[in-house]
Symmetry: D3
Subunit: 245 residues, 6 copies
């Protein structure tokens, strides 16, 4: 455990994960921006299954550059090898996030490892590296977010060196226990301490924006509508009350 | 209006826009090359709807790097904010082109703004930046060309600073009034002064190349056929006359 | 012929090409790694038809940067121009590999040239450059691997200067006569001298990994299974014998 | 004038410019960070004369991508051409900042233009582009900050399109009237509204850090010293009072 | 301590460090290549004092991407903050190596921290990030290797998260206890297990190449001389024996 | 010899080389631009000895990506290896230009090879790769232009595959026999066919610009002076006649 990772995870509101699974990543980044977090979206990390949603707590693996005395197929047989150990011990609902140093030309997982994550009940896999057996992995329907397909195994470029420490993934800090949310757009990392707030406010923003989009499609001008002025907000409240009756 | 933008737009031949909508972007770049324009294709800007065509006159918005005192959600409520003002005042048949400085990791438009463009009758949207609500925007069927999906709003990286000035987009100069043409391959900017010529010659090239492709598929060798020699050109003229009879 | 290209090609085992056409590129990179080849996968070169397989011997074309006195549409009429000459003289089963210097913004082939390759019975086309008439080329079903679509013809950025010499393509050395294999993941270049070995061992690895994947999907833990321990290997042998009975 | 540029410049404290000329750019970025500005340092822009200091108000020029009908040597003879016009009308003490789109391979100024700036009393030149006649310009001793030397004139890659609008330079927003400060490390852009505050606090920080550096060189441990604890701050106050006596 | 870092360091031959301090980094990379290590040179990391040599055992610090709740000036006051803790506890003769993720635009150390390393007797500082107070640090004459000058403090882009774990620095794996050697060309990381061998063979290679260079300067042709044939090697042995007499 | 390289070199005007050695690379790129050549300056290739001039005819070597069966220290002993063969057979006054594929992290020459070029009377060495033994090579005073220092030998990344063919170097086409000119700014490649013209016009431009610079330093305004109007040109002619008297 890295010196600065939290010793124990604070509890989440019981509805938070379910709410987050319904909020789009654009809305999540907006709510995070308003709380002062400007860098939460993992750029370049794309879904293998764009119509699947993903939500879960982060566990992490860290890769460092390969070296001939550290990186080999032999080392993969060691059950303590962080990449294999983390997969073998993941718990249901967790998302495995791997720091692959932004290298798109090597694959840090393929169909066998993803299958193991799937069987163990993981909620997803996120990495700023490549995936091999890409089409086969897509067919699983398990949420995977990566830079793209790549045939060579990770030992060509990397060695796994740590597990469940603070990492960077696609230039975003990931703290074990943070909430990873993915949709067709990509992945957002929500700092655990603000997850409840982001979930509650995000649900509201989604409702409001659905209302605004509908108005705009019917011809409303932008000024006063988006962002909403007082009159639009009043209309929205009235509409919402009618909905909830 | 930037010092060097044209004060009034020269008229186009009445058939030019319709012709351009039938000519592929590869043919357009070839005709432009022959007129001395080597840099007209917006590289990396990809269609959200590859099977839609786009043609229209350019209006422009320019973004500069974000700064904490200039970039915020509050500024978006100002109806003079160039991004919002340009969308709200676009005219039917125009294409909005935004200089997003090639930044793929922030979104310069989403479903609400694209919907407003659509409702106002715009012909398309082109930007060297990201689009949020990507799948939702794709479903509109409105021609949008961008670097790809990105969740964070543009205020994280940009501030809109100007409207209808000369801009660069994807390393191509865009002058307001130029003709933007898009297909499944991407977008070409045609300098207004040569649009009539490019349209007329492009239609011819397309016919000739369809004829050549057919010959090659039936087994003709490249020499004499592509590029066409005298004999192939004569065959083509004869075939064309038969067609037009 | 470049000074260091082989004068004559050594013969391949009669089953090698057929075997390679059934082995995935991840498996091929693993077998090559085990033989000491760490850099065989052409990164960033993607299939236009991801569900087609490709296998064949490499012939090569080399492009250099354009210069106004060397790069023009006129030069394309010269039947000795290396790009055209190589296409016109390709033999059935060969794969044309073009060194396009990693430039994605220009197209080194379009529908007419690809059609000619197709008609002549070539096995595929691989290039670290762009393809124009992208959708049209996709519709042929002919195996093409490229960086993506681009409208401008290659003369904007390149001039073809050599044929059938050693080249780099997507940062991988390609020697004329090497075996190019492509699948939905991308392309691997197999040095001719090891092609028989790679094919034989690759077939075996594919069988073993299919067996392992099946075990993992049924709940087997990673340790002892992947990589396989003695017990898993024994199970595999028994299963294989049952299959072959 | 761009829509969002200030109409009139607010006055500065009479000592601000002189103070800023004594504060290092690291100290300035720290003071700006503490006021909420995280992106003020022009990365990659290096001094031609590392031992000269520069301070002055920004005037700006904007370049867009070259196009054959806009970029030529002929256009340079037009006294309204923004690059030439801005140089010809610069006032004593101003710094010319040019948005060269981060292109290092073309030169946006050379010895003649820099000489004219010098003669007119400008305080410096800053650009995220190249400089030609590099050695000759270095010999002037006039403060110039650029990406490096480049021989080709800017018309190969750019056309100047605007003057004194908001620009980006090396990924930093520059508003006309902002204060540009340069030292051997590079250039910082200080938003005009906070220049007085940054100057006052920067002078204090420099004194404190000189005191801390001296303590560390004499063997003080980091904890309590850097950042300074209460005891170090008290020592500093005492020392400062002794100095001022 | 990272899971895969060695628990205790194996002893070095008593002459190894002194020998390494006399061998150039080109020679060291050649000896490492011959032992199978192809990736030992930290590319892009340049000396602040090109005429100083550096040799010592690596201790490491790891930085991850900044986040608003983790990266601030306040956290620097915590004596456990890895960047500060590692500096405060470095031992004489050690080299501090920092994984700054290749970010050149922020500074991971400045004059005060480098001064503390100097006072504590460290052998050097190596980082794939920026240095602030560049000129001041150069004046110390203490061996520092970095990407270049940068004014902003590291908190703008990074947070220090670990100490003395395996890291990547400039795309090279660094294991605590490895031997870092620097000269005017840059820095090589020598895996501890091969340091004695590399030192012994490197000394020999240097003598041989000095002999070869001398021959070439006097007009010897390359064939037979470089690489040396039997006759050149015999000459060298004879010359060496004369020297040692 | 590559298919498109010239069989025999056309003669140059006897004064051309001497004239070119006095003309700056900015002036040369301007003259080439006026003749239609927009891409002649080798960007990023910097002089090891900025105060030396270089002029001579190009001979070329081409490198391709390394592969374990082609790239080794053993192959260097083969006198036909293109890198060694080209150096061993260079003629007095020629400039060796190497296509190193823009890779800065490996060295394609060091002190021994440069020394051999020097002894053989070569006019210079130009490469878009690294140089090892950098300081030692600088001390020779022999004109070398490269991307920078790098310790690892080229075999880590490259294999030399061809000699005296058309190559790209730093994104510029180099035809054997072209004239390479270098100064403190970098290197320009002048197509042989226009070398006489460029030399003659370049000498004139240099005189005119020296005259203009002098006027500007004495306070002349830009309009009418730079670019020169009729009156300035008349003054220049008069001055020139006085000089020549």
């Amino acid at each position: 455990m890295s010196r600065f990772a939290p010793a124990a995870l604070s509890p989440l509101h019981p509805e938070t994960l379910e709410q987050l699974s319904r909020i789009s990543t654009p809305t999540l980044t907006t709510q995070l921006f308003k709380l002062g977090f400007r860098n939460a979206f993992l750029h370049g990390v794309r879904p293998l299954c764009p119509d699947r949603r993903m939500v879960g707590e982060a566990v992490t693996v860290r890769f460092a550059p390969a070296r001939e005395d550290y990186s080999s197929y032999e080392v993969l047989a060691d059950p303590r090898y962080p990449q294999r150990h983390a997969i073998e011990h993941i718990e249901p609902g967790q998302v495995l996030v791997m720091d692959c140093r932004g290298v798109a030309s090597a694959a840090n997982a393929g169909d066998i490892l993803v299958s193991r994550l799937h069987v163990r009940g993981a909620a997803g896999l996120v990495l700023d590296g490549g995936i091999r057996d890409y089409t086969s992995v897509q067919a699983f329907g398990f949420p995977v977010y990566a830079l793209g397909p790549a045939a060579p195994a990770h030992v060509v470029r990397h060695v796994a060196v740590d597990e469940n420490v603070l990492i960077g993934c696609a230039e975003v800090l990931i703290v074990p226990g943070d909430i990873m949310v993915g949709d067709g757009e990509g992945v957002v990392c929500i700092p655990r301490a603000v997850a409840d707030t982001v979930a509650a406010r995000g649900v509201e923003q989604e409702e409001l924006e659905a209302f605004i989009l509908e108005k705009v499609r019917r011809g409303a001008p932008l000024p006063g509508t988006y962002p909403p002025g007082e009159s639009t907000l009043a209309e929205f409240q009235a509409w919402k009350e009618r909905q909830n009756r």
